[in-house]
Subunit: 219 residues, 2 copies
DNA sequence: ACCTATTTTTAGACTTATCTAAATATATTT
DNA sequence: AAATATATTTAGATAAGTCTAAAAATAGGT
């Protein structure tokens, strides 16, 4: 099987491909992995030899089919464990990421399958991100950022873009959680801040906040 | 914190200290760890520098207080995860060891604590081995090997010495499991084989079997 | 006590994943 | 299109953990 490091690179490439819809540059990967470009080049060569990525010098990398499958498996495990920690072990959603980073590398197909079953085949992790099923299929939601809504529009909070503790604790403090209905009452052109209505409370939030909350509009 | 490898060495030293009640020799450790004596010497030096073991050249190693504490923590996690796999995820007791070998290295005190609580603070893992509590306290049972019993003596099966799949599946096949009452009906002096009574069935077992089953005698 | 066998350690090499610094390729600006 | 800036790769080094082969220490037998 693959090393922790290899799996982490695959995961990072997967996320960056989604983000930029294109080949992933060495520098972007170095930033995502919090390492040096030269280290990235080294690792990319190894992944390429193992046919996990397609790589041409100076052209960036793309995941191969095998690479994508492997990345999705790791993401599946990560999100299942996050769900487990929150739903079964009383963790708060801002505490689970680092532990899931460790647990996602545990190698056992049966474990993943049984954990999934034990949890009732959850569709989304505590941050609203979709959990791939055993075949690697995602349920891709037609979500948008709260910051993209206009005055008087409304929708349901379905996810967070930023999963940092600081952000998640801010949401906790202001009683914003997944599943809640949010309506835009006012939107300031100057700084992008908003006045929103959530559970009969009015709340003013900065653009940094609205830019990190995913909303699903009811059609 | 400590690496997977360091933790595995500490665990091995812990088990060997129990077994031999003395300092652990380089060769014994090499055998237990399935590696070469020279590798063991290297690692022992590192553990010694980190004050996890007390080491004098050619004299073998002993765990320091810190080393013992660390080893017990790893063993605690190993056994809690084994219990989780069997009790919550429908694993058989012969399938859990390798996965627990991975899970025992996950670093999060809160995870261990909450897992313990979630499982109801179990006292023994699926093989009958005691699970240390959060303070590192074991419940040491006054158990003995079935092979040590004499004709007409009886007791309750409380654990297995060998945890290999082959042995555990043999027990499954013959309906021998923890908690069951076993009485020695005959004991063959020649080869140490026994005729035992378990749940009204009579069963002939070799010494290899009786030598790997722990029995608790009722006083 | 000496010789031999066994155990343990040392020395030097290899692999994985990383780094710094230098070299090279690509991209951008004028 | 040349000059400059940026991105990427290469070369060589380091640390962790392992190995083989050789050297050194200990233990055992007589």
């Amino acid at each position: 099987m693959f090393s922790f490091s290899e799996e982490n690179y695959l995961k990072a490439i997967f996320h960056l491909e989604r983000k930029y819809q294109a080949g992933v540059s060495t520098n972007a990967l170095a930033e995502e992995m919090d390492t040096k470009a030269s280290s990235v080049t080294d690792m990319i060569k190894k992944l390429s030899e193992k046919e996990l990525v397609v790589y041409k010098k100076y052209q960036g990398v793309k995941l191969s089919e095998l690479g994508r499958k492997t990345a999705v498996e790791v993401i599946r495990k990560h999100r299942l464990w996050e769900y487990f920690l929150v739903e079964k072990l009383n963790f708060n959603w801002d505490e689970v990421h680092d532990i899931a980073e460790q647990l996602e590398h545990i190698k056992s197909e049966k474990l993943t399958r049984e954990l999934d079953k034990f949890l009732g085949f959850p569709k989304r992790d505590p941050h609203g991100d979709p959990i791939p099923d055993a075949e690697g299929n995602f349920s891709v939601a037609n979500k948008m950022l709260l910051s993209e809504l206009e005055k008087t529009e409304q929708g349901i909070c379905v996810g967070v873009k930023d999963s940092s503790s600081d952000f998640l604790r801010f949401l906790d403090k202001n009683n914003i959680s997944l599943g809640k209905d949010i309506k835009v009452l006012e939107k300031e052109a100057f700084d992008g801040s908003m006045l929103i209505l959530i559970e009969e409370r009015q709340l003013r939030i900065s653009q940094l906040i609205s830019n990190n909350l995913y909303i699903k509009i009811q059609q």
